[in-house]
Symmetry: C2
Subunit: 379 residues, 2 copies
């Protein structure tokens, strides 16, 4: 076969979900997309976990809007590095997100109105629990691999820790075992931009018919700076002035858009504010902040990873200053202390944190070979 | 003598000031502080230029509030690296600032109300012009040195370029010959936070009796992250939870302050929003963006520096990721192309960009020796 075989489903979970915070979600939906075919042994399933602003829509054209191509389409599909001719790939929209799974924009059955600010704080471990329940529903006892970049990589790591028998390979790209103080600080600025937007209304803006757009714009702008490398920004924009053809190349001496990079950032912020939910932004950045598996073992990551059975593939990018290579090396070193199996690559790509989403031959060939080896070993 | 001999004055300039933007300021005041004594030959004057949020109040206790110690008090004073027993030091509050010199909070003689958003955009070169006029008033034909950190260093460089005969030594610490795209991007986020605050009222908030505090807070928070090194933040805060003694060390699962670094940032933002003016923040960040002396010589910094006669002392800090050492090296290399005299030091201080304000023995001893040599040479 050589078709993507995209299928989208909303799956309802009627069983209450106890969360790490102590709250209990009475029931919930998860939206998923699948690609390829689950084999008879149900042994070829790969779970793809998404990062901050993505969704279940990993590959191919969106059935509702064919110009909307999946966020990891260069990675997943027939003949792609994660080859859907051989693997059955599942993309799942995380709980708390704003793309169809239950989240702040959903109706709270206890109040018959939007959850809004009442939606409970969610952790990476909560997501992994919902994903395990999803696997149960699909009859998948064990994933061939769980895979993600950035926050998606954290979910893959949490899978290896909490469901050691249910994951063959853990693939964590551009990830970290926990946020640094600087990472948390940037998240805090973004959250404060949203929280202090008068249109936020304490998280219940849906009822007011408004959206805290200016907070969302700022949150995205500051986030976006951390996704790109300094060099990449310099190459893309430098100090070029934003000018239409033939316009004066002189400074305009104003606070309007003057440099290309300003125009780009404003555009990114504006675009984001039209499709992303502010409460979801708060929730997901907080899940990032809280992720710290070593916390339960007095800061020892190797002890936190002591029970993992998955083989690891860890990949970092040299110019990623959000989760730089030394953060990935912490994971690798902890695994080596435990004599776990780990493959590690540091890719000299110029695109900063965003590199995990981009098509780099060295990176893609590595993933391709890794999955080929996995397929041949019939793991 | 061994007294600081602090003297504060407001100096009025009745002559109109043509600005780089083409606007003309009809008249203006500059607030200055001086320390030490001007010698008979008027050859021992040192001009200290301030960065974003500082002022004329460089050293010693503020006469109006003795607990307010000058921002570079560890550097300037009797027996300090810039020794006021030998040098006559001048701190000047820049035009457009909010600490007494004419700026957006001043009355516009054309309208008899606050300048507000009508205050013209100011450049580093405009500041240097006002400082040269100040020198004229004080009868100082030539400064022994012009010195500053960060944006202050840019002013020192502009002095060397535009008044080559009037400056003996140019001392630029933690500076850069121009902002990078990433630097501009961070400024743009900060400005957008202010511009999108509903209390900004297009810059005319004075008339509304409000202050765009939430914009200022966000601007300061994002700025502050760039002043500290990642390592320094990790050492200062790590992932410590903000807890009173005896409180539970567990996560609270909320968007309120959870980590120490959040508390610190919010505190810095809040403090800043009580004393700094939003229009001034816009003006000063724009002056940073626009500084680019090589622009007038087709991007060649060595050509921009071709006429300098000053000897340079350039200092950078290894952990400064705002204006990292490679930015200072650009200055040094351009000077070496011209066979100008330059001393360069890269200090392995852990405190990021803020290191230029802190007391590091290697850094201070270097400045001390440099000024002693300058004094003995009777430059």
């Amino acid at each position: 076969m050589s078709e993507l075989n995209l299928s989208r489903n909303t799956i309802h979970f009627a069983e209450p979900l106890p969360l790490q915070s102590g709250a209990i979600l009475p029931n919930y939906d998860l939206v998923i997309e699948t690609y390829g075919k689950l084999n008879a042994a149900k042994s070829n399933a790969v779970l793809i976990c998404h990062a901050l602003n993505a969704s279940h829509h990993v590959a191919g054209p969106n059935p509702d809007n064919t110009s909307d191509i999946g966020w990891w389409d260069n990675m997943v599909g027939p003949g792609k590095p994660v080859n859907t001719d051989h693997f059955f790939v599942i993309g799942v929209n995380n709980l708390g997100s704003c793309f169809g799974s239950t989240g702040p924009m959903s109706i709270n059955p206890a109040t018959n109105t939007f959850y809004g600010a009442d939606f409970p704080v969610i952790t990476v471990e909560d997501w992994v629990n919902t994903q395990a329940r999803l696997a149960d529903k699909l009859g998948i006892r064990r994933f061939a691999a769980v895979m993600g970049g950035s926050l998606g990589g954290m979910q893959a790591i949490a899978w290896a820790i909490h469901f050691p028998k249910r994951i063959g390979h853990c693939i964590a790209v551009a990830s970290t075992p926990k946020l640094s103080a600087q990472n948390i600080a940037f998240n805090e600025v973004a959250r404060n931009a949203i929280l202090s937007d008068p249109d936020f209304h304490g998280g219940n803006y849906y009822a007011h018919g408004v959206v805290p757009k200016s907070g969302l714009r700022l949150a995205r702008m500051v986030g976006h700076i951390t996704y790109l490398s300094d060099d990449d920004m310099a190459k893309k924009f430098g100090r070029e002035l934003q000018r239409s053809a033939g316009a004066s190349p002189e400074y305009r001496f104003s606070f309007d858009v003057e440099f290309e990079v300003e125009s780009y950032l404003r555009h990114q912020g504006e675009k984001f504010s039209t499709y992303f939910d502010a409460n979801t932004y708060l929730l997901i950045t907080r899940a990032l902040d809280y992720f710290d598996p070593a916390r339960r073992s007095e800061g020892s990551l190797s002890r936190a990873l002591a029970e993992v059975q998955a083989k690891f593939l860890v990949i970092s990018f040299v110019t990623d200053w959000r989760f730089p290579p030394n953060r990935s090396r912490e994971i690798v070193e902890a695994l080596l202390v435990n004599k776990s199996t780990v493959t590690y690559a540091e890719i000299d790509a110029p695109h900063g944190h965003d590199a995990f989403l981009l098509d780099d031959a060295r990176y893609h060939n590595l993933i391709r070979s890794y999955f080929q080896a996995m397929d041949e070993a019939k793991v």
